[in-house]
Amino acid sequence: MRHKKVRSYAVLLAASTLILAGCSSSSEDSAGGAYAGPVKDTPGTINVLAWPGYAEDGTTDPNVDWVTPFEKATGCTVNVKTYGTSDEAVQLMQAGGYDVISASGDASLRLIYGGDLQPVNLDLIPNYADIFDNLKDRPWNTVDGKNYGVPHGRGANVLQYTLGKVKEPTSWSVVWEPNSPAKGKITAYDSAIYIADAAVYLMSTKPELGIKDPYALDQTQFDAAMALLKQQKPLIAEYWSDYTKYIGAVQSGSITVGTSWQVIANVLNGEKATVGATKPKEGATGWSDTWMISSKTEAIDCAYKWLNHIITPNVNAQAAEYFGEAPANSKACALTANKDHCKLYHAEETDYWSDVYYWKTPTEACLDGRTDVKCLPYAEWVKAWSSFRNS
């Protein structure tokens, strides 16, 4: 899924798309305004940049395909390119050559402010009406009152523990505190965005720091989060970003507790229940992904049709089930193959998501609305993370 080897090809591709982008003629200028419509039946080709499992065209598994029906119905040709991390997605999108993208919140803002995406006219997307209300008009898909896309699905970064090795934890303290019973067998996510997980824990353990939003950290709050990460480092067996490696480590017993995705727990519990996954009392970080349209697309009609198609109840159900996350379309829950899917992923429980802090790109202007201090932008997070991991 978010596999590392993909990256080397991504570099090659980024280089080649850069050249292609330079050669192609400049596209229509859509400065500011969204497409007025109506969506016409213009045939065309769209290049889709997606998380693996989000736009399956049958090449991974012949039975998993919701791209071909779209092509047949609309006459639009779809080329899918998958990426491994949000950072890679930003890089590819900036290089150009893609018409639509499924972006997590930590990628979307960077792309919007970089001028790589265009506002979306939601009146042209009938299926938008069925999207869960708590996914609409959120800071990672809406800027200055303009909507930039349609929500696809969401998930929480859960606390996973091996049954029989670790007593069911109710708090993240099991991964942060030096006296943790799982010392030396803990894992953490290997990305700068994990600093937000430290901030989530500090929100309840050190309320005096006044953290309101784990992605809006001023210098004092940020230093406290980094200090917590330094305290955690000796407890860590491995940092993970390749989920297959993570699964292997849990099976072999070298990792017993740590941050995880529901889909990883499901794979591990495939044959018999070996791990539990919980959202501790402090809340958790998570992701909420949005389909967005490039500001430079030349196939605007196909792009709009794609956005409408991908959140159709039955397509959204297929994609969410295949990937292992909560669908964004409220009508998708009735159409999943596993009838318990939405329950398993808490899709319909509004309360469950109230303390899930979706990935966002930290900016210098504090995302929680404070104006008296400056927050650390993501570039500083990355710098600090790189230094921390190599210290």
Binding site: Y113, A379, R389, N390
Partner: protein
């Protein structure tokens, strides 16, 4: 080729040489030197801190960042340490093995031994490293199984596992040049040494080692440079341990100029290493 061109080429050796060399030179200049230059130029640029887009404006900030943060000094030292350890261990294992194949084994069995030596190179790098990963698992791994009767346990993932993995990967690159060097060793010299009363140890240190030294150096260039740049083995076997390649990998997508600046560190170390070797004259006989 038309006769005219043929004749022209025959009459002018310089034109002929230029024609023959043009392709390799193009490769060397454009692809090799060119990419190094691109690396250097990128390292003096900066990025828009929010969108990560490169701004082509001169700055030394990337180098200031590297030198002002002790973490990057430490990671450089750790990387050098691993590369040196891997090179020394490879040499210690490779010298007797190469000597055995070139001198002790029957001439008939030599091709078989060489083939066996190369077989690990037929398997994918990743397969081999993942195999080591399963062996190093602290709880159920092969190493734990092997030494648990003696009361030991696998050291788990970390610098030790990385050194073992890299040594395993690069060993053939050390053995092959040394084997080639030892094969050329005249038997008469060994006979003469024995005739003059030298014991095998003395013959080894005073005759064999000095003559095969350039071959060992050639092998060390492979093992040292390959270890300096590796990051995948470190990701798989390193646990929380990191090397210079990992710094580049962590930063290239968000801050390419900084990653380029870090990538120059192993390049500089290799240049120092190579010029040191050249000065010592070890490459003169090669």
């Amino acid at each position: 080729m038309s006769n005219k061109v043929k004749k022209y080429m025959q009459q002018r050796p310089t034109a002929r040489a230029a024609f023959l060399l043009s392709l390799p030179l193009l490769w060397l200049l454009l692809i090799y030197i060119g990419s190094l230059l691109a690396l250097f130029i990128t390292s003096i640029w900066k990025i828009d801190t929010f969108t990560s887009k490169i701004i082509r404006q001169f700055t030394l900030q990337n180098f200031i960042d590297i030198f002002s943060d002790r973490a990057y000094f430490n990671v450089t030292v750790r990387t050098l340490f691993v590369a040196i350890c891997v090179t020394i261990i490879c040499a210690v294992i490779a010298i007797p093995m190469a000597f055995f194949i070139a001198r002790v084994a029957k001439p008939k069995s030599r091709p078989v031994l060489i083939a066996l030596l190369i077989t690990p190179l037929w398997a994918s790098y990743l397969v081999k490293i993942y195999a080591w990963r399963t062996m190093f698992y602290p709880e159920k791994g092969f190493i734990t199984w092997l030494i648990s009767p003696l009361g030991g346990q696998s050291p788990g993932f970390g610098i030790f596992a990385v050194i073992v993995g890299l040594t395993y990967l690069w060993l053939p690159y050390m053995i092959l040049p040394i084997y080639a060097g030892m094969e050329k060793l005249p038997t008469s010299l060994l006979d003469a040494s024995a005739d003059l009363g030298a014991k095998s140890g003395k013959t080894f240190f005073n005759v064999i080692l000095p003559i095969t030294w350039p071959a060992i150096i050639a092998g060390s260039i492979f093992t040292f440079s390959l270890s300096m740049g590796d990051y995948i083995t470190v990701q798989i076997l390193g646990g929380t341990f990191q090397m210079l390649g990992n710094v580049v990998y962590q930063n290239f997508s968000l801050n390419l100029p900084f990653a380029a600046a870090v990538a120059l560190i192993p390049v500089i170390i290799m240049l120092v290493y190579l010029s040191g070797i050249r000065k010592s004259g070890a490459l003169d006989n090669l």
